[in-house]
C-alpha cells in the first residue's frame, strides 16, 4: 500500500499547492515592455508600400493651426533641439524613448487617436525609431520625410514643396552607369554578369559534424 493511499488528503494538499504555485507564477510573470505586433513579413510589406509617411507640405497646416490630432516629436538630443526646432514640436531624445514616462505619454496619445510625427536631423536619424514603434504596435506614428534639414531649408514656403521630390528617398539622383563608366571608353560592367560573385555563407552547426 502506498503512503498516500493511507492518507488521501496528503496528495490533495500537495496537488493544490502545486497548482497555486503555477497560477502565482503565471500571474506574476514580468510583462515585457514591448511586444512585436507586426510580423517580419508584414513589416516588409508596409515598407514596400511606403506607408505612414508625413510630408513636409503637411507641416504648413500643423504649424499654423496646431491641431490637437497631431503631435510633433523631435528625436534629436536636447542640446540640438534647443538650437532650433519645428514650431510646436516637443523634444523626445532617441535615448529616452523607452523611459517609462515617455512610453506612458506615447501610449496615452495612441489611445486618444492622436497622430505622432517623428523627425530627426534627416530622415535616416528617425528611421530606426519609427520602424521600431511601427513594429511594436504604435500604428499612429509617422515619419517626417526629409527631416529637420529639409524643413529648415524650405521653412519659408513649405506648401510649395508639394511639387518637390527632393525629400523622397530611395531614388538614384545620378545615372550611375554613365557616371562610373571607364574614361577610356571600355565597358565597365560588361563582364559583371558572367563573373560569379562568391561569398561565404554561414555554416549550419546544429548537427554534430563527426570527425576524430
Amino acid at each position: 500500500m502506498h503512503i498516500h493511499e493511507r492518507n488521501p488528503w496528503r496528495t490533495l494538499i500537495a496537488v493544490s499547492v502545486f497548482v497555486v504555485i503555477l497560477v502565482i507564477g503565471f500571474l506574476t510573470m514580468p510583462k515585457p515592455l514591448f511586444e512585436y505586433e507586426k510580423s517580419m513579413d508584414e513589416s516588409i510589406e508596409a515598407l514596400l508600400n511606403g506607408e505612414d509617411y508625413f510630408y513636409p507640405w503637411e507641416l504648413e497646416d500643423v504649424i499654423a493651426n496646431k491641431p490637437d490630432s497631431i503631435v510633433l516629436f523631435d528625436i534629436r538630443d536636447n542640446f540640438v533641439f534647443g538650437q532650433g526646432h519645428i514650431p510646436g514640436a516637443e523634444n523626445l531624445s532617441a535615448s529616452t524613448l523607452a523611459d517609462p514616462d515617455n512610453l506612458e505619454r506615447l501610449t496615452a496619445l495612441r489611445d486618444m487617436g492622436v497622430s505622432i510625427v517623428l523627425y530627426g536631423e534627416n530622415e535616416l536619424q528617425a528611421n530606426g525609431p519609427w520602424m521600431f514603434f511601427r513594429q511594436v504596435g504604435f500604428n499612429n506614428i509617422k515619419l517626417l520625410l526629409g527631416g529637420y534639414e529639409y524643413y529648415k531649408a524650405n521653412e519659408d514656403d513649405l506648401y510649395s514643396t508639394i511639387d518637390d521630390d527632393a525629400y523622397f528617398s530611395g531614388f538614384p539622383r545620378f545615372n550611375y552607369a554613365e557616371m562610373a563608366a571607364p574614361k577610356d571608353g571600355s565597358e565597365l560592367n560588361a563582364d559583371q554578369d558572367n563573373k560569379p560573385v562568391q561569398v561565404r555563407r554561414r555554416e549550419k552547426t546544429s548537427v554534430a559534424a563527426g570527425g576524430c
Binding site: H4, E5, P8, T11, V15, F18, P32, L33, F34, Y36, M40, D41, I44, L47, L48, A94, S95, L97, A98, E123, L124, N127, G128, P129, F132, V136, S169, G170, F171, P172, R173, F174, Y176, M179, A180, A181, P182, K183, D184, S186, L188, N189, D191, Q192, D193, K195, V197, Q198, V199, R200, R201, R202, E203, K204, S206, A208, A209, G210, G211, C212
Partner: protein
Amino acid sequence: MNRNYILLTVLMLVLAVGTLFLTTDDEPKQIAPEELLQQIIQPTRYVTTDQVAKMIIQGDPSLLMVDVRSADEYDEYALPGSVNIPLEELLNEGNMGYFGVPGVKVVFISNDDIRADQTWVLTKRLGVDGTYVMKGGLNCWMQTIIEPSQPDADAPSVDHALYAFRKGAQIYFTGAESATTDDGNVEVQVRRREKTNVAAGGC
C-alpha cells in the same frame, strides 16, 4: 481506481493542453524589442563611402556588400563584388545565410541610405550581428568616390588628403588609365553553407 490518480491524470492533461498555447509563435527567432531599440538608437552601424572604397581596393576578404535595390537597378550598375538581395526577397530561402558569418562585415547599400537602414533594422530584429549601412548610399558614392569635388586651397590638410585618396579611388573604380582594376576585388574565397543533416565522417 483511486480518486487521487484520476485527479493527477486530469491535472497532467490540463498542463499538457496548456503547453499548446505556449508555442503559438511561429515567427523565426528574434531579439527582444527592448534590445532592438537599444541597438537602433546607436549610430555605430554607419560606414562611410570612403571606408567601403578602401576595403574594396585593399581586397578586404571580410567585406560582403549586399545591394538591397531592385534587380533591375542592380543589373544596371552595382559596386564590384556586391550581391543583390532586394528588400522583398530578404526572407527568402537561403538569403539569411549570408548574414551572421563570424568575421564577415555585411554592408547594406541602396540608392541613399534609407532602404539599407530599413534592411539593417529588420535583420537586427532577427538577431544578426556584424551588419552595417553605407551612409549616403550610391548617390553619395557618386559624389565622393566617382566624382569627388576638390576642397578649397585653404581647407585643412585632412580634406586634401581625403581628396587625394578619392582621386585614387576614382581611377580604381572608373578604370581610367589603370589596368589593374579588375583583379583582386571579386575573387572572394568560397565557403558555402554546408548541409550537414546527415552525420558526417567518423573514423
